[in-house]
Symmetry: C2
Subunit: 278 residues, 2 copies
């Protein structure tokens, strides 16, 4: 694992690494924030970013370090897809290929050789983090847009591995969203039964009641993608039908940007801290 | 004045504008943050950015909106130089021309037609802001690196126009810095007597004692530019010789980046709020 940078932030350390991912079969960058050390082992919040992002957008724009420093939470921010020479990409598309991994394990050519972001986030990255940093085994997961989708899907499928999940403006029902349909048809093929495992609205319908996690979602009502792409109302309806409690906040006037995330990231970190502290 | 964007942030509004500047003789962008309205007129903090920046770096990375919202301060963030077709530039130089206006009024060809950032920041922009937004006449000024230099110079030369000044990692003695010497020789010519008006260390030596402003400076001791380019120790020595109080904080482990600024921006905003409230 190669250290790309180490920078002091809120008396802790903002760090960037490069490592070879066996799941993705390429070099990957990730960023971490280490809060000032208390001596105790650190709980970890994984943040999954949205379309076009790298590990740097959240790191530079969300303002999360201040609160993570106070709460003693380590932040881990992966990239959003495999990258680099030899990695398949879609020309002139921001919503497929590089920067758009959708947190799935692709089964179709030419994507299946590298696009296994689900395995990378669920298994490989936590194993790298927990082998290299002074962490506890308490994990939590959050994300934005495509990353909100990823966080919800990963937490619903692996409730034993996380203490809580939250999302900003998630693509909540991707099998009914143009972004989701495009990505899933390329990565997973035309059989839509294969898409079910990556749709939070379909997953919560059948989630195990004995393993419910705390779920928090914030959504701006001035979000330009709300009606066509995100559809949180379908996730909320499914969670109610399944008796799965979800805290959902519709925020008046907010859009899809990091100005929205930075406004409410503190409340999400405090939500995770409470679950991680238990 | 053209509105480029309006985005909700911390219950206030992050906005971006374009206008024609008569001082600079070109179109200019600036960003403002309007805190949630209390009905009373808003005091204004001007933020001057460093080399290569536009109005967007501070806006996206500093995390200032949270504190400005709480304190009821309007933030105004101009660009760092004139820009656009017909504006002189230096090829392959990040420290001269576009993105590197150094907050001076250039007297030399080819710069003098557009590069009048001093007049733009001192007179034109405040007049635009105060004519367009519900502001009080209470102004304050801050900045980073080249912008820290600009803030100190402008406040020391116009103490009647500001309530306080602060800086992160300022180029504190540009007539003794490679960045300053290069910029001043191009913009102001070879007569170094003409440079005095733009050097905070030289200006504080002769500052009017009856018009002293509160001054706060933060500097990281791991800043890669500290010894060669910034030289805050010369400014501090001059301020002590002149009996001009300066709050100076050397911060262990911090570098020149926005991770440093975001860590301490809250303390700077509270420092300005106290002066603006008087």
């Amino acid at each position: 694992m190669q250290v790309l940078s180490t920078q002091r932030s809120f008396e802790g350390s903002q760090e960037r690494y490069r490592h070879f991912s066996t799941a993705l079969n390429c070099e990957m960058n990730f960023s971490v924030y280490l809060p000032p050390r208390s001596g105790s082992k650190l709980p970890v919040l994984y943040w999954l970013s949205g379309l076009t992002c790298t590990d740097e957008n959240f790191t530079n724009k969300a303002g999360a370090q201040r609160v993570a420093a106070e709460l003693g939470i380590m932040l881990v921010v992966p990239d959003t897809s495999p990258r680099g020479e030899g990695v398949a990409d879609a020309e002139n598309a921001y919503d497929l290929g590089v920067g758009a991994g959708f947190y799935v394990n692709a089964t179709q050519e030419p994507w299946s050789r590298h696009y296994r972001m689900y395995d990378y986030i669920v298994d490989e990255l936590p194993s790298v983090i927990e082998g290299s940093f002074p962490t506890s085994n308490c994990r939590s997961i959050s994300g934005h847009s495509m990353g909100g989708h990823g966080a919800l899907v990963i937490a619903l499928r692996n409730p034993h591995r996380y203490r809580a999940v939250s999302a900003f403006s998630p693509i909540a029902n991707p099998t009914n969203s143009p972004w989701g349909k495009k990505a899933f048809s390329h990565y997973l093929g035309s059989d839509i039964e294969r898409w079910r495992d990556y749709d939070a609205t379909l997953l919560i319908e059948t989630a195990d009641r004995s393993q419910q996690l705390p779920i928090l979602i914030d959504q701006g009502d001035a979000d330009e993608f709300l009606a066509e792409q995100l559809k949180p109302e379908r996730f909320i309806a499914a969670s109610e039908a399944a008796n799965y409690p979800v805290q959902f906040n519709m925020r008046a006037g907010y859009d899809h940007s990091y100005f929205f995330i930075s406004t409410f990231i503190e409340s999400h970190l405090r939500f995770h801290a409470e679950a991680l502290r238990r």
